[in-house]
């Protein structure tokens, strides 16, 4: 087990190293690094001074080394627009984005799994066909349009929920989040639903497919032959088998949620990383873009690692190895 974790850690470090290389050289090959890191509106003198200061007149390997050491110390450049370190800007906004992603994930689980289970157990029923049609709708609907419609219906027409912004926060166990206040939930509900819609559809389809496959397995038949009540057959025997692939997919999708929050945050004016990214792209604030990229890559790698470990913990066949007595 520990050997497994160690191996994966080594692989992850390798991937991070490769990614840092790609990011750095990508930025240098594709665009003019001068304009990527220095505000193009500055004076010629200032530009030249900045070039010297940033070491851009040095050979490229030296620049990479400089970049790497800076990055390891947490310095990923300064934003043109805000004048603050890019890393700080992003980290300040990360909790908001994570909140949104977690709320969306929770919704996906709470709604997706029961619906998918039902659709898998009674595939011919009218309700089940509606659920499946709904799921096609769910991942066909463009997220941004759904967001607009949600605002239109719930905020403008019905006036039940606020249309923009993030609610008040509270601190619990050292974590500050708007999820800990009731008012905060009012603000998070629409954007989280928007983000979750795609994931709910995914979870429904996944759970349904898993259920349909598992229900014909012999161990389900054997469980029934033992005379176990239906709720135990479904709730324990079936569910535990399906949950393993569903959980791993969901874990990996968490990264996607964070990425997709770009759209939702823009529509709902949610103060998260995604919104920062979009405004940075539009204002050509390149250091922020580079910093965002690196952080996202790191996040993905960590998520992948965690999911791998989680999977091996959940499935006893993997955990204990394929031993034959």
């Amino acid at each position: 087990m520990t050997a497994f974790i160690l191996r994966r850690l080594m692989q992850s470090v390798g991937v991070v190293a490769v990614m840092s290389l790609i990011v750095f050289f990508g930025v240098h090959i594709v665009g003019d690094p001068v304009y990527l890191l220095i505000n193009p509106q500055a004076d010629q003198e200032d530009i030249e001074a900045a070039i010297r200061a940033l070491g851009l007149d040095r050979p490229i390997w030296e620049q990479y080394w400089h970049f790497l050491t800076g990055a390891l110390q947490g310095d990923l450049g300064r934003s043109f627009v805000f004048g603050e370190p890019a890393l700080k800007l992003i980290l300040d906004r990360m909790p908001a984005t994570l909140e949104l992603a977690i709320a969306a994930l929770l919704m996906a689980i709470i709604f997706g799994i029961p619906l998918g289970l039902y659709a898998g157990l009674k595939p011919q029923s009218w309700a089940s066909k509606t659920i499946m049609a709904g799921s096609i709708l769910g991942f066909s609907l463009p997220t941004f349009w759904v967001g607009i419609m949600l605002i239109m219906v719930f905020a403008v027409m019905l006036g039940w929920l606020p249309s923009t912004g993030r609610g008040p926060t509270a601190t619990f166990l050292g974590i500050t989040s708007s999820l800990f206040t009731l008012e905060g939930w009012r603000y998070v509900l629409l954007p989280a639903t928007n983000l979750a819609l795609l994931k709910i559809s995914l979870v429904v389809r996944l759970t349904r497919a898993g259920t349909r496959e598992a229900i014909h397995q012999d161990y389900i038949r054997f469980a029934r032959a033992k005379g176990l009540p239906t709720h135990r057959v479904i709730g324990v025997h079936l569910l535990k088998n399906i949950l393993i692939p569903v959980v791993t997919v969901l874990g990996l999708e968490f990264g996607n949620l964070v990425a997709f929050s770009v759209v939702t945050e823009t529509i709902f004016a949610w103060p998260g990383m995604g919104r920062l990214l979009i405004s940075s792209i539009q204002s050509l604030d390149r250091p922020v873009i580079v910093a965002y990229l690196i952080i996202i890559v790191l996040m993905f790698i960590i998520i992948n690692l965690v999911v791998d470990i989680l999977y091996s913990l959940l499935d006893p066949r993997v955990r204990l190895g394929e031993k034959s007595a």
Partner: protein, 342 residues
Amino acid sequence: MIEAAATAQEPHIGAGDAEPTLAVEELKTHFFTKAGVVKAVDGVSFSIKRGEVLGIVGESGSGKSITGLSIIGLIDPPGRIVSGAIRFKGRDLTKLSEEEIRQLRGDRIAMIFQDPMMALNPVLRIDTQIIEAVRAHHDVDRGTALEMAREALSAVGIPAPERRLKAYPHELSGGMRQRVAIAIAFINKPDLIIADEPTTALDVTIQAQILHVAQELCRNTGTALIWITHDLAVVSAIADRIAVMYAGRIVEQGTAAEVIGSPLHPYTRGLIGSVPSHNARGKRLYQISGMTPSLLHLPPGCAFRNRCDYAGPLCSEAPPVTEPTQGRQLRCFYPLKSEAMS
């Protein structure tokens, strides 16, 4: 093996003249598929007494497994029991509600499946899977159930049961998994056990052990046992009575000695003849010619007609069940002369 068994079978203790544990009458289970109606079981009747072992023999597609599943009530759509009665200790199982049957399953009627690796849930521990079988039917606390599980594993001959209880199915060998399945089947001391090809997926050496274990348990508890298999050698070692199935019907039924020693139906004779040990060395193996007919389009009349060496003009009608001797049943217009098999 067959010859010895044919002469040395004795009825089990308790196989008296009390009401039969199970009486199946004209059972018909059909599957309504898009391609047509598959008459998997088409008019099957037999009975089995307390402590008796009935062997149901047939090829794939003969309907033997479906018969077993029909009795325990695990036929799913598009299949359905169309007609007939299944009298278990007087109650007609076909008339019971799903909840009433569920209460019988695992408690009074138990089932053992063919592939123990697939039958045991791979993500649950062995003790969980045994304990739940007990607690679904009896109000016992976990500690008592765990003790029962431990005893059950010992009874089927598993050494160091405590360790095995904490294990997962993939950590055990095939033979041990099947023993666990048997332990689960016997733990509530049911009146009837249906074993659907339990040894087919196992090594030959393990087969003998499993057979022995099952036999012992049945003798000690008086449980009736239906042993479904395609392997005549296996069934001859364990069964009191044998029913031979073909294309959804029982074509011959009788005591093991009678059916194997002096078969009346050409198909039975064919089955016995094709057992390798039965053929002279160096000569070509005897094979029944042709293939099992498609259950979707059964030819009219006797289903075995196209493969039978003895078919005659009468066979274009479906042969009715006849009783040539006491306790013997047959569906054939041209039964073989009762000659002892060499």
